[in-house]
């Protein structure tokens, strides 16, 4: 019935570091339906970016399955991957460093088409690039400009055009607005949502900004040190957060209204620990105000507590 465009099963990505095994992504599973957005939230070092990169096979996963329309990318051959590659694209966080400064806007957007040999002739290529520029709202006169001559918002539009030009079905957005000013941020968010509606795009939206993620996502996944601690529909997470970490995260957002003025609130103590050789049990136990002895041993599994609401916590 429902179209599971992307399904991730028990995905793991470990990095070998001098200090030991770094569990960047540890046993994460989820699925996204066509045309929906899954928001991934977490603090720096929680593995959200690694998750996005691993799904696109920019990192080889250590273990697990990445099913794209039912096809496993991990075991797929080189040819199969090459065929699927244009269907999955990425928008990067930093519009300053993710564009090659030696190329003009037009060259930058044309590059994916050239590399994947999509266009038969030069005319078609020019046509596709112009279309992409128009879609993201870049004026034709900018086509010969270099990225360093443009502002952050326009550069991010180039990044979006570059991801769109291959007509993908699925896009990983890795903090696409966090380097931008608020007024520009809103322009880009609106653009991403318009594009989603027009083209039935599916997003994996990675961010640390909870207000942004609520705005754009259908479902939200909260990550902590490589693990998914809670996953639920967007409204549900905000109205009824269950995991103590999710609660702390929500409480920490500064809210722009007078009521929050000089307000005292429950603060989460301590800082994120390292995901190198993690101890067994709940990874949040060290900072969790409700942690008990049982939290520090054994595997804490993600359980479905109500329809579509998954939590990994022993106390619930």
């Amino acid at each position: 019935m429902e179209d599971k465009m992307l399904e991730i099963r028990h995905l793991k990505k470990y990095f070998q570091t001098p200090a030991g095994k770094l569990h960047a992504v540890d046993d994460v599973s989820f699925q996204i339906e066509q045309g929906k957005t899954l928001g991934v939230v977490g603090e720096s070092g929680c593995g959200k970016s690694t998750l996005g990169r691993t799904i696109l096979c920019l990192n080889e996963p250590t273990e697990g399955k990445i099913l794209f329309h039912g096809k496993d990318l991990v075991t797929a051959g080189k040819k199969e991957r090459k065929r699927l590659r244009p269907k999955m694209q990425m928008i990067f966080q930093d519009p300053y460093s993710s564009l090659n400064g030696r190329m003009t806007v037009r060259q930058l957007i044309a590059e994916p088409l050239i590399v994947n040999k999509v266009c038969k002739n030069k005319k078609e290529l020019e046509q596709r690039v112009s279309e992409a520029m128009e879609t993201v709202g870049l004026a034709e006169r900018l086509s010969m400009a270099y990225p360093h001559e443009l502002d952050g918002g326009r550069r991010q539009r180039i990044g979006i055009a570059r991801a769109l030009v291959l007509e993908p079905e699925f896009i990983v957005c890795d903090e696409p607005v966090s380097a931008l000013d608020v007024s520009i941020q809103a322009q880009i968010l609106n653009l991403l949502m318009d594009l989603q509606e027009e083209r039935k795009l599916t997003y994996l939206f990675i961010t640390h900004d909870l207000s942004v993620v609520k705005h754009i996502s259908d479902e939200i996944m909260v990550m902590y040190l490589g693990k998914c601690v809670e996953r639920a529909p967007a409204d549900e997470i905000f109205e009824n957060p269950l995991h103590p970490y999710t609660k702390a995260l929500l409480a920490a957002i500064p809210i722009p209204s007078v009521e929050s003025c000089h307000k005292r609130r429950e603060l989460l103590q301590g800082e994120v620990t390292s995901p190198v050789n993690p101890k067994p049990g709940c990874r949040f136990a060290a900072r969790c105000p409700f942690a008990k002895e049982s939290c520090r041993s054994g595997e804490i599994l993600l359980r479905e507590v109500s329809a579509g609401h998954f939590v990994a916590c022993n106390q619930i």
Partner: protein
């Protein structure tokens, strides 16, 4: 922004604007242009025949209007020999640096970009070469291959490669970490295309500077090798060879050493000054 639509040569003109500010670099550039002009139009300035015409009556004469730089022990015109000699020196300097650059770029870029085993193998080989002083390395190559222009070029190139590989490898390492390289991978760009379209162009600034400076070293090494008889052989009018044969007349006819020596120094100096100027001009961070 108002300057967004400007033509693509704006980057070049920006570099030129910054280069012009450096007075020493401009002096270097002027000297370099003059020497290049002399080398390119040598035949028009003074015919090659004057380099080999031995006029017995005019041996070892000092500078005069007839012979600007005087004559050597066989009565050959030194001015003609120095001017034509610039062709050898500049050709060897440019050819060796370019060859060393290409080989260094391929090895250095693959070592830096692919890492792992490729990196280890290339680096260990380079380490071995780095242990030998460059001049000894060149001598060994010439000794093995015999003296000729071709072998001299090979010898000097070989001695220059290790440094280039090291430099380019470290540059590539920093560029390859940039997000745009990962972006290129995300839409399926091949490794070769990434190296040549993304990594090398972005590492180009320091490489250009290094190559310019290297030309000056190469000119010196070529002159040095020819001076000790391991490079270009007389009667070819190479600057080092000119110096070598002038040694014995050092006290009676010092001008025989002075003029070739001055040209070696000036050409080497000019490339160094230009290289210095480019370092600042190509660094966009020093923008003001």
């Amino acid at each position: 922004m108002s300057n967004a639509g400007k033509k693509r040569n704006s980057q070049l003109s920006e570099i030129w604007r910054r280069y012009k500010k450096n007075k020493a670099a401009m002096v270097g550039l002027v000297i370099l242009v003059i020497i290049l002009f002399l080398a390119v139009f040598a035949d028009l300035i003074v015919p090659y025949s004057k380099c080999i015409d031995q006029i017995g009556a005019e041996r070892l004469q000092g500078p005069s209007l007839k012979h600007f730089f005087g004559t050597d022990e066989y009565g050959r015109d030194l001015f003609a020999r120095v001017i034509h000699g610039s062709r050898y020196s500049l050709f060897i300097g440019v050819a060796t640096s370019l060859m060393a650059l290409v080989i260094g770029a391929v090895l250095g870029a693959s070592a830096g970009y692919f890492g792992g085993v490729v990196d280890t193998v290339i680096c260990r080989i380079i380490d071995v070469f780095m242990c030998v002083p460059p001049i000894l390395l060149s001598l060994a190559v010439v000794a093995a291959l015999g003296t000729s222009m071709r072998n001299l070029i090979i010898a000097i190139t070989v001695s220059c490669i290790p440094g280039n590989v090291r430099l380019i490898r470290s540059l590539v390492l920093t560029v390859a970490e940039q997000d745009y390289v990962e972006a290129a991978r995300s839409y399926g760009t091949s490794h070769a295309r990434i190296i040549f379209r993304y990594v090398l162009p972005n590492a180009m600034g320091p490489i250009i500077v290094n190559t310019t400076m290297a030309i000056s070293d190469m000119i010196l090494s070529a002159a040095g090798l020819s001076f000790i008889g391991m490079g270009i052989q007389p009667p070819s009018p190479e600057w080092g060879a000119l110096l070598s044969s002038a040694q014995q007349y050092m006290f009676t006819s010092p001008y025989l050493l002075l003029f070739p020596g001055m040209f070696i120094m000036l050409s080497s100096l000019s490339f160094n000054l230009v290289g210095d100027g480019l370092t600042d001009a190509l660094d966009p961070k020093l923008k003001d």
